[in-house]
């Protein structure tokens, strides 16, 4: 059947900011959906608050609304655009929840529009645990014993019935937010209490524990004719008890016979039918008891999910793309398989390789957080690797994480076998290493299994790797066969070098002499049964390579690897743009990346895709393989963040042409000494700084330049390990924590500019001309990491002469460094003086935001410049304006989204939500309007922390902030807010003529008549907004309690004075009301 002809326009709901549990996989799926709908001639309307997405590029929709994904704003879009249908199954839980709210509020009916892809009843049946359980039973399946609870007392009763431990799962939250395992009544009180609060329906499920069982997941698709296919089976390496997002997962399932697999398949088909997912994708999770094969259905997602993205990349079957086609009325047999271009999509992919996904964690940024893995997702990204065997894929995946210690190692095991086995009993990021090292020290597969419950098959495969390591460790020259065998098991040159006392370079030479190189196989959905038309490759040490010859000159683009805090979707965005721009310039584009969530790893994005780790060795092999089949112009390293940039010098030394900014230029910007000299030569001001290889040096430097100072390790992204140090004592503590400090890894000590305004600039430079993309003023003061600070474009408090000065300084730096392409510079303005903080000769995190605000694709231009175009050329072509710099239309505010609610300390209390020089945000949103207040308000709504319009405000200030807060607090009172404060603050406010209600400090405890403390009052929901600026450097008990209570209760919290000022403007705008929505296309007219 052709598509549903009555559908002429579709509203696609995106997933908003990147948060833990909902990352750029939904940009990948949403982008595919938009492309499909546009290709069908349907008018595409899109709402997504996240500017760092490809889907929100103006060309992917007819009307793109970068507005908050709240029922209020979605309704405004519907009212304005009157879409025939709404597609909400490709935007994660955010889109699905928005769709349900709109339905429940009668808005869909009011505007005579409807959901396609899944209906509300099906969503409810899939997501409501009780309904879902009934469905599972109705088709003859089994669920874990469970009880729905709405009060904590119900929870206690349930736990008595099932015995501890019990699993707590709040309803309608994403990424397992608020769920956990309770081993005791105390733990239950805490976890279930929080869960009840997180659940929009105040509902949690208390469930029988199936910890330690095997876990499987099936990705399904169904069309309106009731054709159902299983796209992929996934087996978790980690047994039940760890959230799938935090588990190492493997495709296809490895330890099921056909009989057992078909049982899962039959159940899945039964469930998708009974739930009534009419068209589209869903996934279903199962637990299987390893002792007797008892199958328990865990849950389903009646929508495209993170696992769907993984399954798409793992199989070559583009789930989101096909889901979009099914939603508009196609059936599976009417859709061609992209890869074979011959066979239909109504088949089940079969794999002749193994896919391993490993999660990427960022616990080092939350040192207080409990690092045990539970059913609440905590990872911030993932890497995927493909190999012809599990050991090969696993080792590639581990090195794709690009994290110290993520690859297996065999030397310097400081723990005993017994200690490691104990460690293996607790699920953590490093459990796989504990298991591997225990077995290396002699633990048997059985012992490792008993300790970890990891399936013996996986353990036996790791044992194969360990055995190889033992062989390599034996004295004497390793034979060619041993080298071949080791490479076949996924060992990197570096690992082999470490085991054999050689160096990576020597190993590489040796391999080259012996002709030991990987071959490149193809992901083709069909295990080679049909010819693949898409060059989607992965390496393997096997026999036959499938890289086709080509005649067009190629450009290799290095992606950014797994998402992590500080290096997220923004960099993938730039890489994708480069692929588009270079293809348009008639180059053959070759992408190398290992992040399955991204658009860059969609086989549609570049001409060739290599799903490979971004290490020197893996990149070199791709380069050589491609060089053997056709000309290569060069490699683009400046768009994927620090990962490719870090490879640039070594690649160049190995003879690889780097296009754009040269590694030598990169070094000038990154080496503080060289950069300092450049600033000096150009008469540019910078905070005083020094580099210290020891505490004594640090002390000396700090005394010279004066406290406060900013201390940080060199060469890091995202402000890792950065701290503002106010005195010598803290400095000593900082240095003693920095275990890696040495002359080769010095610590940098910068003068910290208190109360300065920070400014971010993104610019293009071609060697001659500068194009200033945008100047962003940070809302939080310098000292808060630029990635965590809100910012506004154009700046609101910088005058023309400063702006001119910024432009001049930018040009001097760009020229001095020798940039060819993008540069990002951070400036600070203190007492009206401009300071240069740092320069990064690469695409920055703000490139997508600037591009959205100005309508200019900086990344595309940068790619073009690196391949020889000039800014004048780009002006001529229309990629840049005929003259002048980037001009932002309206006021755009970028706000960061922080993951505080994901992390708890070991005692279950929350981690502190203070902003600082260490970046901790996972994502961002954009709010845009004609004036700042409205734009800021939108940004807060989009960032899941909507400002209140009325109610009580709890305010507490650090002494140094008191004088600065008066105007804002007065304004809040004038706007009708009740001000609540503790005695000290209240007195100060009274002195300033501001009336406030006095409340007890947390440390004072409840009053004699049961008067609440500030914390109780926040927890009970009596407060609509919390303002708490930190006292000095260390977290004080009261402030921390207040902040964690606000985070736990989901109450917006402001921790800086500039943030407060902005909020006041936002609230005022909200009270005025009448926010309008305006599409990107209209803004850019």
């Amino acid at each position: 059947m052709p598509r549903l002809n009555e559908i002429k326009s579709v509203l696609v709901i995106g997933s908003g900011p990147i948060v833990i549990g909902q990352a750029c996989e939904f940009d990948y799926s949403g982008t595919q959906a938009c492309r499909v709908l546009q290709a069908e001639g349907i008018r595409v309307i899109l709402i997504n608050s996240n500017p760092a997405t490809i889907m929100t590029d103006p060309e992917f929709a007819d009307a793109t609304y970068i507005e908050p994904i709240t029922p209020e704003f979605v309704e405004k879009v519907i009212a304005k655009e009157r879409p025939d249908a709404i597609l909400a199954t490709l935007g994660g839980q955010t889109a699905l929840n928005a769709a349900i709210s709109l339905h429940d509020a009668g808005i869909l009916e009011k505007y005579k529009t409807r959901l396609i892809g899944a209906n509300v009843d099906a969503i409810r049946r899939g997501e409501d645990r009780q309904l879902f359980k009934e469905i599972v039973a109705s088709i003859g399946g089994e669920s874990a014993g469970s009880m729905i609870c709405h009060t904590i007392e119900d929870c206690y009763k349930a736990a008595e019935r099932f015995n501890y431990p019990v699993v707590v799962r709040p309803s309608f939250t994403m990424g397992g937010l608020g769920s956990g395992i309770a081993y005791s009544k105390d733990e239950l009180t805490e976890i279930a209490g929080a869960g009840l609060r997180y659940s929009p329906t105040t509902e949690v499920l208390i469930e029988e524990s199936i910890l330690g069982w095997k876990e499987f997941e099936l990705e399904m698709m169904r069309d309106y004719k009731d054709n159902v296919v299983v796209v992929c089976s996934i087996e978790n390496f980690d047994p039940m008890g760890v959230h799938t997002g935090d588990s190492i997962t493997v495709a296809p399932a490895m330890t099921l016979t056909d009989v057992e697999y078909q049982k899962l398949r039959d159940l899945s088909i039964g469930i998708i039918r009974a739930v009534g997912v009419d068209t589209g994708g869903c996934n279903i999770q199962f637990a299987v008891n390893p002792a007797d094969g008892r199958i328990v259905v865990i849950e389903m997602n009646p929508r495209v999910s993170r696992s769907s993205a993984l399954a798409s990349k793992a199989t070559g079957f583009p789930i989101a793309k096909i889901a979009a086609k099914l939603a508009i009325g196609y059936s599976l047999d009417e859709i061609k398989n992209d890869i074979t271009q011959e066979t239909p999509a109504s088949f089940e992919p079969t794999l002749d390789y193994v896919v391993v996904k490993v999660p990427r964690f960022n616990f080092e940024k939350f040192p207080a957080a409990d690092n045990r893995l539970t059913t609440t997702m905590k990872s911030v990204g993932e890497a995927m690797a493909i190999g012809r065997s599990f050991p090969e894929a696993l080792q590639k995946a581990l090195r794709s994480l690009e994290k110290k210690g993520s690859s297996f190692s065999w030397d310097q095991i400081s723990k005993s076998k017994e200690e490691l086995l104990v460690e293996a009993g607790v699920a953590t990021e490093s459990r796989i290493h504990s298991v591997q090292q225990a077995m290396f020290l002699g633990a048997t597969v059985e012992q490792a299994h008993e300790a970890s419950f990891i399936d013996p098959w996986f353990l036996a495969q790791i044992e194969i790797i360990n055995k190889m390591a033992h062989l390599l460790l034996q004295p004497g020259e390793i034979s060619e066969k041993m080298l071949r065998d080791a490479k076949r098991l996924g060992f990197s040159d570096l690992q082999i070098a470490q085991l054999t006392g050689s160096t990576e370079d020597d190993l590489r030479k040796r391999r080259s002499i012996l002709g030991i190189h990987p071959v490149y196989k193809t992901v083709d959905t069909c295990a080679a049964e049909f010819k693949a038309m898409t060059p989607y490759h992965y390496s393997s040490y096997d026999y036959e390579t499938e890289v086709e010859p080509r005649t067009k000159p190629a450009v290799i683009i290095l992606g950014s690897g797994p998402n992590r805090i500080g290096q997220g979707v923004e960099f993938d965005y730039s890489c994708v743009h480069a692929a588009f721009a270079l293809r348009a310039m008639d180059f053959e584009t070759i992408m190398i990346n290992c992040n399955p969530e991204t658009v860059s790893t969609d086989y549609d994005t570049s001409d060739r895709l290599y799903f490979e780790p971004l290490t020197f060795e893996d990149v070199m092999e791709v380069y050589e393989a491609e060089l053997a089949v056709g000309p290569i112009v060069g490699v683009v390293v400046q768009l994927g963040g620090q990962t490719p940039l870090g490879l640039a010098a070594r690649l160049q030394a190995a003879g690889v042409p780097i296009v754009g900014t040269s590694p030598a230029a990169i070094d000038i910007a990154e080496d503080r000494g060289l950069f300092g000299q450049l600033l000096k030569d150009q008469n540019l001001r910078a905070p005083k700084f020094g580099m210290a290889g020891s505490f004594e040096q640090a002390q000396k430097i700090a005394n010279e330049i004066g406290y406060p100072v900013l201390a940080r390790p060199s060469y890091v992204l995202g402000g890792r390990g950065m701290e503002i140090v106010y005195d010598e004592e803290t400095l000593a503590a900082y240095i003693s924590k920095s275990t890696e400090i040495s002359l080769t890894h010095p610590v940098m000590i910068d003068k910290f500019l208190d109360d300065a305004i920070e400014v971010d600039v993104d610019a293009l430079f071609d060697g001659e001309e500068l194009f200033l993309g945008g100047v962003m003023e940070h809302i939080e003061e310098a000292g808060v990491h630029s990635g965590d600070s809100a910012c506004v474009l154009p700046p609101t408090s910088i005058d023309a002469s400063l702006t001119k000065e910024i432009r001049e300084a930018t040009e001097k730096i760009a020229r001095g460094v020798g940039v060819k392409g993008l540069i990002n510079i951070q400036f600070a303005i203190a007492e009206n003086l401009l300071y240069v903080l740092e320069a990064n000769p690469r695409a920055s995190r703000t490139v997508p935001f600037v591009s959205k605000a100005t309508g200019i694709s900086l990344a595309k231009c940068a790619a073009a410049i690196s391949l020889g175009k000039s800014i004048a050329d780009l002006r001529e072509e229309g990629a840049l304006p005929k003259s002048g710099d980037g001009i932002a239309q309206g006021i755009s505010v970028k706000e960061a989204v922080l993951p505080w609610n994901r992390f708890r300390k070991k005692d279950g209390s929350g981690v502190d939500s203070l902003l600082g020089p260490e970046m901790r945000s996972t994502g961002e949103v954009m709010g845009r309007d004609d004036e700042f207040g409205a734009a800021f308000s939108k940004s807060q709504s989009g960032a899941l922390g909507a400002l209140p319009t009325s109610g009580a405000v709890f305010a507490s200030f650090a002494d140094r902030d008191k004088s600065k807060c008066v105007d804002s607090v007065k304004a809040l009172a004038k706007l009708g807010f009740e001000i609540v404060a503790t005695a000290g603050t209240a007195k100060f406010l009274a002195d300033e003529g501001i009336k406030s209600k006095v409340i007890r400090k947390y440390s004072d405890g409840l009053g004699p008549k049961g008067e609440l403390t500030a914390v109780d009052s926040i927890e009970s929901g009596e407060v609509a907004l919390v303002i708490n600026t930190p006292f000095g450097s260390g977290p004080r008990e009261d402030g921390w309690r207040i902040r964690t209570a606000a985070v736990a209760r989901g109450i917006p919290i402001i921790t800086t004075i500039p943030g407060l000022k902005a909020a006041v403007l936002g609230i005022a705008a909200q009270q005025k009301g009448g926010f309008e929505v305006k599409s990107l296309q209209d803004w850019l007219k």
């Binding site: 004719k225 009731d226 054709n227 296919v229 299983v230 089976s233 296809p252 399932a253 490895m254 330890t255 099921l256 016979t257 056909d258 009989v259 057992e260 697999y261 078909q262 398949r265 039959d266 390893p290 002792a291 007797d292 094969g293 599976l332 047999d333 011959e342 066979t343 239909p344 109504s346 088949f347 089940e348 992919p349 079969t350 794999l351 002749d352 390789y353 193994v354 012809r388 065997s389 599990f390 597969v445 399936d455 013996p456 098959w457 036996a460 495969q461 044992e463 194969i464 196989k521 069909c526 295990a527 080679a528 049964e529 049909f530 010819k531 096997d542 026999y543 036959e544 499938e546």
Partner: protein, 373 residues
């Protein structure tokens, strides 16, 4: 472990390691793309005289067990995998795969690029192959030996796989029908699925006579799957023609489908590299729905896919086609109670989507020619 060679008819040689039994073996090289179900594949008589290449790299992970056997022995003449499992991990496993291969004298080879072999067969078509494991032969000698081995085309293999004596699989629950199944290489799952539907299945040797069949007054006759070239099955084809005249309901699968096609007067032909896997999309033209099915066939029936056709037994039509390549996957007569499918509705291994075909057979036996559609 020692050296082993996988030597193709066209002279292409892949070197790997010995696995399973040492020695030499010959057969037709075919690849199977199923990611699960190696045990069912090994014990499926249809793979008699075939050397099976598994495209899934890790084989043997779940070991071998009694209940998943499709027959009493391993039938493949050689087994080719990339990474055999060092251990067995499954609660139902009773033995390891390699132990079974050795015990039954099956020559295997591992650590070869199975994808390269598959691509070669895809491009060049299936051909004869030999595996030489721990043998002291030159490359030329090995190729010569392969070229001396028998071809699949023109091979009559049913007698080698069929039961010697009739046996009965009783109906589960109330007995509703009696079916005579002609064993051309039948799998255990087929009579089991029929018995679950109240059918008492009498499994006959492949050389059964009409008299022997009629002795049990069957409500229907089932033509099983099996190995070999359907054009050699002259006697069974003649038997089917007689059955058609007697209007006894017939259901054929795989090899049985090819025989049914030949009985209707169609030719059979050899596919370049066959269908072997459990992910094949087949369109049921009568319902317009797609089912994901298990296939194992190297030959196919040449019949007009669109509209109906005439036979001496009246009108008929192609009921099923493979959506990958348009191959005829199902036939039915419109005026007589007989139909067949080229694939495996018993699906062991494979998805259970086509199980409804046994219900169609039951409907056919209940009466009404059109019950099937």
């Amino acid at each position: 472990m020692g050296n082993a060679f996988f030597v193709l008819d066209d002279g292409k040689i892949f070197e790997g390691e010995s696995w399973g039994s040492d020695g030499e073996t010959y057969g037709e090289a075919v690849f199977s793309t199923g990611m699960t179900g190696y045990q069912e594949t090994l014990t499926d008589p249809s793979y008699h005289r075939q050397v099976v290449i598994m495209t899934a790299p890790h084989i043997g992970n779940t070991g071998m067990n009694k209940t998943d056997e499709e027959s009493l022995k391993i039938w493949v003449s050689g087994f080719v995998v990339r990474d055999p499992s060092p251990i067995v991990s499954n609660w139902r496993a009773q033995r390891s795969l390699e132990d079974d291969l050795v015990a039954q004298g099956i020559v295997g080879i591992c650590n070869v690029d199975t994808r390269a072999i598959t691509r070669h067969l895809r491009e060049c078509g299936v051909m004869r192959v030999g595996i030489f494991s721990n043998m002291d032969l030159s490359r030329e000698e090995m190729v010569k030996l392969v070229r001396k081995s028998p071809e699949m085309s023109g091979s009559q293999l049913s007698a080698e796989v069929s039961t010697e004596k009739k046996y009965i699989v009783p109906a589960i629950g109330e007995k509703l029908f009696t079916v005579a199944a002609i064993d051309l290489g039948i799998k255990a799952a087929t009579p089991r699925l029929m018995s679950e539907r109240g059918i008492e299945v009498h499994v006959f040797p492949q050389d059964v006579s009409m008299e022997q069949l009629l002795e049990i007054s069957p409500d229907g006759v089932f033509l099983s799957n099996g190995p070999g070239d359907p054009s050699t099955m002259v006697e069974v084809v003649a038997l089917v023609r007689e059955l058609l005249l007697k209007q006894i309901p017939i259901f054929g699968i795989c090899f049985g489908h090819q025989i049914f096609g030949r009985a209707l007067g169609f030719e059979t032909y050899k596919l370049r590299y066959g269908h072997r896997g459990i992910n094949q999309p087949v369109l049921d033209k009568t319902t317009n729905k797609v089912e994901i099915t298990a296939h194992n066939h190297g030959f196919a029936v040449q019949a007009p896919v669109d509209g109906s056709f005439d036979t001496v037994y009246g009108k008929g039509e192609v009921t099923h086609v493979c959506l990958n390549d348009g191959v005829v996957e199902g036939l039915a007569l419109l005026d007589r109670p007989a139909f067949s499918v080229q694939y495996h509705p018993e699906a062991a291994a494979g998805p259970h989507d086509a199980g409804y075909l046994f219900d169609r057979f039951v409907d056919l036996m209940k009466g009404g020619i059109h019950a099937a559609s």
